[in-house]
Amino acid sequence: MSTQSDVATVATELRAYAPTVDLTVSPLSSRKERTRPLTGRAVGNPRTEPGPVRFIIIALAVTFLSVFVVLPLVVVFAQAFSKGIGAYIAALTEPEALAAIRLTLLVAAISVTLNLVFGVIAAWAIAKFEFTGKTFLITLIDLPFSVSPVISGLVFVLLFGAQGYWGPWLQAHDIHVLFAVPGIALATIFVTFPFVARALIPLMQEQGTQEEEAAISLGASGLQTFFRVTLPNIKWGLLYGVLLCNARAMGEFGAVSVVSGHIRGETNTMPLLVEILYNEYQFVASFAIASLLAMLALITLVVKTVLERRLDEGQEPSDH
């Protein structure tokens, strides 16, 4: 899953080349605009297209979206339940399925936790201080967005693979990075790193440093200032970043596929298991797992919308 992933992908490249591009595509700015009323003042404006034209446009839009987005989603659930609820539950309680679910949860927990901590740290360094090289640093943080998931996996194979730079050394010490949980965790951490930082940086920049300065002038230490003043102010942005980070961590396919080795029962995450089962024509099982991931996606979207509203409220002018 790549929520906003490559939206920011090329935006990063674009930004590097043309800082004048007005369209910041950070999760926050596009979110901000989108929660404004959907209808511009043009609706109800007599100066709009004639009826038949409107009808055609709406019809095209609706048909297109239905065919390309709604139908695939429906297919997932239809296939999953095509042999009844019994088969559905059975598919989910297979040992391999449970192992995949456990692994996915584990990897997500690791990635989200680490990227949460380091994302906050990076956002603090970038948003609250002035220094040269900031743009470079931000571009670096955005980098995982810019590369194909396969390439994200590739780079780890180059390091840890049997013929990688550290391969022989790892083999000599019987340490397994690739084709084992550490490799999967690393690849997932790589692709999900930017989410928390990118959610926090614009938010913290917008909030400025005044409240922190006030806290310092009142005698608070750095940690006190962070926990008592900064953290409460960024909590919704933090949740937003964590949400997206988690969704991507659980849904990542390409990068994990490259590093995982697809060892049944051991190194298959849920997306990988979907692939394996599908290739074995075990459609019900495959779509059953897929349906779990689809539900995760839908829930993520719902929570994301709620959080976006919260974030917008929080940014209503208060002190100014």
Partner: protein
Amino acid sequence: MSIAVARRSTLPGFGLTMGLTLTWLSIIILLPLAGLFLKTFELSLDQFWSIVTSRRTLNALKISFGLSFAAALVNLVMGTIIVWALVRYRFPGRRLFDAIVDIPFALPTAVAGVALTQLFAQKGWLGAPLAELGIKVAFTPIGIFIAMIFIGIPFVVRTVQPVLIDLDVEIEEAAASLGANRWHTVFRVILPSLIPALLTGFALAFARAVGEYGSVIFIAGNLPNVSEIAPLLIVIRLSEFRYADATAIAVMMLLASFLIIFAVNRLQRWAQTRIPAH
């Protein structure tokens, strides 16, 4: 006794947080990147070139870039229509459809892949009627095309949406008062002002489609030279332990992507000078 005071920051923790950030970035991002670069430079220019121009590689790159481009074009057109309908019209279910636009973003790629395959397979809900018409979608380049369209849908829509929402109605009213009919107003006044956003959306959709793996490999036939995408070729080379080949293809992909995005970016800058953005 005048003391020159060293530059300090008001807020504490700069040293610590910068240090930690740089360390983490180095481990997680710089190190892997370094590996990529090192590997690339192990090859001589000749070797690099021969790998990249081998028939299979070239075809894979052509398929990836060509179909991505085409799919991005489709998304450009359809995205414009969709965003127009969502922003300018009222119809039942509008909010729902607006939310639906995000699904290709949110859905794990493997799920999208198997779902699309199932849909367009010979016996699928859409594949069957199409087969009657003699069109085979799954396991052909057409399937790749369809998958790339799917994942690109949100990009044009979401990039253009805020711009369209902010568009000043008075501009349209001015055009109308000057005698322009609706056709003129839309195509000469409104759409041109959307061009920078449209180009950005296009570039984003294109870039995403080029690198896409999960959504595509199920519905693609994955036949070398016919329906094999570049990312898949990279994976295959890795499994063959031909790391150098894999790296070369990856680097080629990155270079080509950067070039195309750069070009689109230039185009966009040019468009912005001609058509001042908001």
